[in-house]
Amino acid sequence: MLLSMSLISLALFAQSRKIDGSVLDEKGNPLIGAAVKLKSGKIATLTDINGKFSINVSGNETALLVTYIGYTEQTVPLTGQNSNLQIKLTPSSHSLNDVIVIGYGTARKKDVTGSIVSVSGNTLREVPVANIQQALQGRAAGVEVQAVGTRPGADAQIRIRGERSIQAGNDPLFVLDGIPYSGTLNDINPDDIASVDILKDASATAIYGSRGANGVILITTKRGAAGDTKVTFSDYYGISSVTSKYKVYNADQYRALRDISVFNQGYTADELAGIASGRNTDWQDLVYKNGYITDHNLTISGGSDKSQFSAGGGYFKQTTVLPGQDFTRGTLKATADFNVSSRVKAGFNNLLNYSITHGSQFPANVFPLITLSPLSSPYNADGSINIKPAGNTDDYNTTYSPLLLRSQPNASVDRVRRFHSFSSLYGEVRIIDGLKYRLNAGLDFQQEEGAQFQGTDSYFRPGTYNTATVNNATATKYSLDNLLTYDKTIAQKHRISVTALFGFEQQQSHNTSVRKDSITSDFVQFYNLGLSSTTPAPILSGGESKSSLVAMMLRANYIYDDKYMITLTGRRDGSSRLGEGNKYKSYPAISAGWTISNEKFMQSVPVISNLKLRAGFGITANQGIAAYSTLGGLSSVNSSIPGTPQVLYNYGTTVVNGYYVSRIVDPKLDWEYTKTTNIGLDYGILNNRITGSVEYYTASTTKLLYGISLPPTSGITDPYLTNVGNVTNKGMEFSISSQNITSDHGGFTWGTDLNFYFNRNKLVSLNGSITQVVSNQLFVGQPLSAIYDYKKLGIWQLSEAAEAAKYGFVPGQIKLEDHNGDGKLTVDDKYVIGNAQAKIQGGMTNRFTYKGFDFSFVLYGRLGGTLISQVYQPLAGYTTINDGRRNQVAVDYWTPTNPTNFYPSPNVAGGQISSPLTSDAGSTLGYFDASFLKVRTITFGYSLGKRWAKKIGAQNLRVYVSSQNPFIFFSPYVRAGGIDPEATGIGNQGVQNPGNISSRALTIGVATPSTKSFIAGLNISL
């Protein structure tokens, strides 16, 4: 192949000479597939398996350009030596010549004027998890990733530069290989990712117009490269166990609580036997088992300069400590790129994903593990499971032993099967030199079946008939983007680049859901809902949504002498979701850069190798309006919550349905607009051994979309969705990458990536003169995550009895602040007592290598802010209600002889922990300092030397062991008894809603405990 290319070259350039040589890495090993190009750009070749190349050059050619992924591009002047050139490349993890993805194209990092942070696929893979969100945690400044679940395959929430929306959504836009992506991130195999580029400011995201306000995450997947066919194989397997168990009372502590508590039903016969025999059942020990995590990936890639391909597959599975919860994913990926002619290029990418999630739809099964009596027996005398181990009459018939979940796996089935096909095609034509037309087409198909079955008289259905639910949902989407790009360099110093877009996309989703009770026999499960008795009647529901977007965009970029650069962007979007006559909106942005280090006066400061100032301004929007929001008003279901019943009524036996006025629509509904100003400074010191950037930004979001809860007396039940208010975000971001210790010949190296940042969020105004909407936890002048409640001062002590009595309290009850000083304690004493915003947060990755060994660890931390743990809110989860009815999460509660200020007494005033007028004060017990510092990952690896690897037929071989979430260094919450300071969900997770948790809030609930895992893995490339 190479030979034939050379022959063609030879024929074309008769007066040329032949140059050969080899390209080597920093250790002197040959680099296979490195591109060697003439500087004039006319001819290129690739190095062979021994790193050798040969190329024909014409007489007036001055230099060769040598490039290789991950290495600095090198210019080799042609000095006359024609053979055996030894070209040594240096690694370029922070090279300014790196090409980064900027949306509808790429750019050299040094030309970029917006705020963009890139994370390589390899960096992400340092944290082996199911999806990329958690791998991104602490890895990029300004990108806050917070866990929102502990089940396998659970999501995580990404916020770029804070929250700017109350209810229109704060999730960034994901773009996969150039196509806006609408699936879940669980559908993307982290192993397929080549890089992730995060666009943070409006000057970078304005090209995505109505979807750019929350930032844009561009995911680029791996493609084939010209060269020998390469096979890579990566594999890991790990064991996971609970970070820690919930700390519950042991048998003696439980009896102590129960004996003084208001609950006076007495012990059950089983418990009395347990007391007699000194039983201390640990329900968590009985049910938790180690889980595992495993991942296998195989990729074959290669190609020539005419066509390149890659094809691969992956398998991932994660289980957890509880039965019935796991996540399995299989992926297939194929890409191909064709250079059809010198003017025409085309290619495709196809990602297929199939996943099965178990245990995501049923309620968490942790409650009984915490609350079952430690005095009860888990097994009967004959060794069978004691099905009804509850220690009180109220639960006796309704709480079955959680051991049944392991012994009767078919009695509760909770399965989500998901298929997702994501394809993109492109064709590119070079019309004239510098002018290109490109068509990107995206086709997306998603199908999901959620199936649930709870068997007759089983763990989930004690003493009652079975029930099954099937929900089928299909989503389709297509997009067409027409792109024209023009690149031209005039008189060496003027570089112009223009991109124009005309695009269209449409998406539709539809679901049908059926629930049927009383299936004929349990073994049928949900497979045929017709095999069931006629009563109760089936419950049916469905939904449909369709929306379209028309986009036009123009971006112009001008660079003068690599010193001054300016980018202008304009986008105009038309959306079906806005009302008639109101559909088109425009999004302008401007940004500029000044590479100070390229100025003459900087030549005298050699220690600074790069210094660039950037500034940008732009307007973007947040497409957070659901389809049909400007239509409708009537509803035939009882609330907007999915799965809620239809409005039906019966006159005698005649069943009829009803339509009521649920909401008012605003025909002038508009997007939320965010104006962002960004100033950034990129620096490189000591020949870019230390690189990084500092950013300062302000973002003001206006026309906030908000569903105003009208007073019930307005006669309208649902909130009135309209544009009100204003939110600002301001913040700074710092990132540093440093090669602390470098070595040329496999000696000791140490590199550090560090980032830290803060964001200050503030609700500036709401509707008109409204300063607070307590029911939605919105307070003007406060962050969106404000917490409004009484302020807990401690516990009333015996010595304070007289003062307590003035407020209607007795010693042992919660002591609250009389905030308004009126001498009474009532709801009027609530105020904003905190918020969830971190004062500062960030992450650090350290990497060490020595010879073939590598060692790395990733730290993630937050300082400041308040977390909400519903585990400690007595009425939310009943896990710390201390009423003696059930066992509890152990707390340091007040008694006359234990004058703590942590938790109130279980037995004063009939068990009321607060006065009746402040009976909702239990929520104050669930607030903790949210600060923590965690080790996310520690990895230790060894790569076999190339020579040794070759002996077993491989190019590279690395083995490693890794520990995930091994330590929490510092966390006031953990010190107070909690398991993990990271959230387990969003909004109220309790049985009873404390009433002051917004649907936006991240909360800790009684969920599957977080796990730590120990992993061993292997990467081979052949």
Partner: protein
């Protein structure tokens, strides 16, 4: 070039940006006959919020002379707050009517706005408009009796359909608005009593003139006790009630011979009942209740479970527990509502001649189970080993101490709880108390489930009581005694009594006009209507709440005060109101005493 492409595609894009939903409805739907009927159905369904769920049951019963909170709720929550008269503005129960009724009222306003333009026969239209007006009046009454003055103008004018966002709260000044409230209810019910069908269908609870007359007489009576009373109110209440009583045949209503049959399951459509909020047994979707064993609120009827005491695992003989699960007929022992001693000691001091105590309360639980198959056999043989079988007495609450002592002395092995040990929040000597059984429902899929029975809203017997009270207050108490004796005569009836026994008991039950006082009428209302979720407004409207709570409800004595005659306006309402003049003082909207 780009321009060209844009222009070309622009026109086709315009179409693609139009929305053509398959599932969204606008108020235009109400301009069709089907749509209007769907609106009427939705208001009927809206009434389910006020009759059956936990909040409505709490508001109607707890903190009265009849009922206090049970042991299950003794440490926190809405029952405790209402029952001890320490009611924060965040109380959960008050949200039930407050958050639900205005939507129904506004929907009635919409029906009345759109109906004249809908193509349908005038007869049908008049009935639908009359239904809307009855329902609007009833929704208003439930608000007025709890909260005092409430807005007649929701944002678009008095009694007008509001479909604009409105943030105001038109309840000031209180007395002017209260006057309008009563005027609106009376006008609506007067219209309804002329335009509804004269009778309801025999097997369904479509609204009828009978139901409208009942409510109209009650509204007159209530206004007569209010600050906006008219001198004619008692008289109007009397005439309206008597129109129905005197022509009960025409209106398709009648008193049953046996009080015990009125609330009997399976007899839900009997002639004494004028209007029930309907539900269907075992039909979760028709009952708008997808999770009948866990849902307490929304539109469920949970009355079958709230009044039950702890009967499970409390009676055992020789180590064998007689009832250890939750037999369907006894319901889930939620223990949220317990009768006060007044019920047994005062109202039903005579449990012999008056059949209504035995017909209202369960005092005996028999051995029963939900077991089947092998488990049932084991249970039966365990029982046999201690000399018991299914159907034997397991728990008994005798009416007197003497009877209890007698049974103990006779060596009865079942659990005997004498009246002195019945549960109350002061002494907590046991967890047993007489259970209201009017809402019993054994036709459920599961022992935890709520009920699928219709919930009685109005009965002909109450019309007699309204008429009697109006007669007394209007100054002709002889008529009052006559009317009350009709009910008391019926109350003496028990099936199987000999004619002599019956006539002796009837004679013993008669009262004379000198006995008729407001307190007597309230006692009689307990006897006839105990636990029917109207007691709290009955007392509060008549300004008898403070008196009778202090006299009969030891849990409420400590804090009950005059301002408690109406409830607090929910804090969420206060918080969400925007004063049109920017006045920051929101407390002016709150009822006095609650801020």
């Amino acid at each position: 070039m780009l321009l060209l492409v844009t222009t070309l595609l622009g026109s086709s894009c315009k179409k693609s940006l139009e929305e053509h939903p398959y599932t969204a409805f606008t108020t235009d739907y109400y301009k069709s006959a089907d749509g209007l009927q769907a609106a009427v159905n939705a208001v009927y369904a809206n009434m389910r919020y006020d009759f059956g769920p936990v909040g409505a049951l709490a508001l109607g019963n707890v903190g009265t002379d009849e009922f206090t909170f049970g042991d299950q709720v003794a440490s926190s929550g809405q029952f405790l707050e209402l029952g001890t008269y320490q009611i924060p503005t965040t109380n959960g129960a008050i949200l039930t009517p407050w958050n639900r009724n205005y939507n129904g009222i506004n929907l009635c306003n919409a029906i009345l706005k759109f109906a004249p333009g809908v193509a349908m026969s005038d007869a049908t239209r008049n009935v639908m408009m009359a239904e809307a007006r009855y329902l609007r009046a009833h929704l208003y009454l439930l608000l007025v009796e709890n909260f005092g003055a409430v807005p007649v103008d929701l944002g678009s004018g008095d009694l007008q359909f509001t479909d604009v966002p409105y943030y105001g709260f038109n309840r000031l000044p209180f007395n002017d608005i209260l006057k309008k409230d009563y005027q609106a209810m009376i006008a609506d019910l007067t219209y309804a009593s002329h335009n509804l069908p004269v009778q309801r269908p025999s097997n369904a609870f479509k609204l009828s003139q009978a139901a409208a007359l009942h409510l109209l007489s009650k509204v007159y009576l209530f206004r007569a006790y209010s600050v906006v009373k008219e001198s004619t109110d008692f008289g109007s209440a009397y005439t309206t009630a008597m129109e129905l009583i005197n022509n009960k045949g025409k209106y398709g209503a009648d008193l049953l011979q046996d009080f015990g049959q009125v609330h009997k399951q399976g007899n839900d459509y009997n002639k004494e009942i004028l209007y029930s909020v309907e539900r269907l047994p075992l039909n979760n979707s028709a009952n708008e209740d997808l999770n009948p064993s866990t849902d307490f609120a929304n539109k469920v009827n949970i009355a079958n479970n709230l009044f039950n005491c702890l009967y499970q695992n409390v009676a055992s003989v020789g180590g064998v527990t007689l009832i250890d699960d939750r037999p369907l007929q006894y319901g889930r022992p939620l223990r949220e509502l317990a009768p006060t001693p007044y019920v047994s000691n005062v109202a039903f001091a005579d449990k012999f001649n008056d059949s209504r105590y035995d017909n209202s309360f369960r005092v005996m639980w028999r051995v029963a189970t939900v077991r089947t198959g092998v488990a049932l056999q084991t249970y039966v043989s365990n029982l046999a080993s201690v000399g018991f079988k299914i159907g034997d007495t397991a728990i008994y609450l005798p009416p007197t101490e003497a009877r209890a002592a007698q049974l103990v002395a006779a060596g009865k092995k079942y659990l005997i709880v004498p009246p002195s040990k019945w549960y109350n929040n002061q002494t907590k000597l046991s967890f047993q108390y007489p259970n209201l059984k009017k809402y019993d429902d054994s036709l459920r899929a599961n022992f935890q489930d709520v009920s699928g029975r219709p919930f009685i809203v109005s009965k002909l017997s109450e019309v007699y009581l309204t008429a009697a009270e109006a007669a007394m207050q209007a100054g002709h108490p002889a008529d009052a005694a006559t009317l009350i004796n009709v009910l008391r005569t019926r109350a003496a009836y028990r099936p199987g009594l000999s004619a002599a026994d019956l006539s002796a008991r009837v004679a013993a039950m008669q009262v004379s006009q000198s006995q008729i006082t407001l307190d007597f009428i309230l006692d009689e209302r307990t006897r006839e209507l105990c636990g029917e979720c109207i007691r709290w407004p009955d007392l509060a409207i008549r300004n008898k709440l403070i008196d009778r709570v202090k006299k009969y409800n030891p849990d409420g004595v400590g804090h009950v005060a005059v301002f408690n005659n109406i409830r607090p306006i929910p804090q969420d309402q206060i918080n969400s109101v925007v004063d049109p003049n920017g006045d920051p003082n929101r407390n002016k909207y709150q009822n006095p005493g609650y801020y």
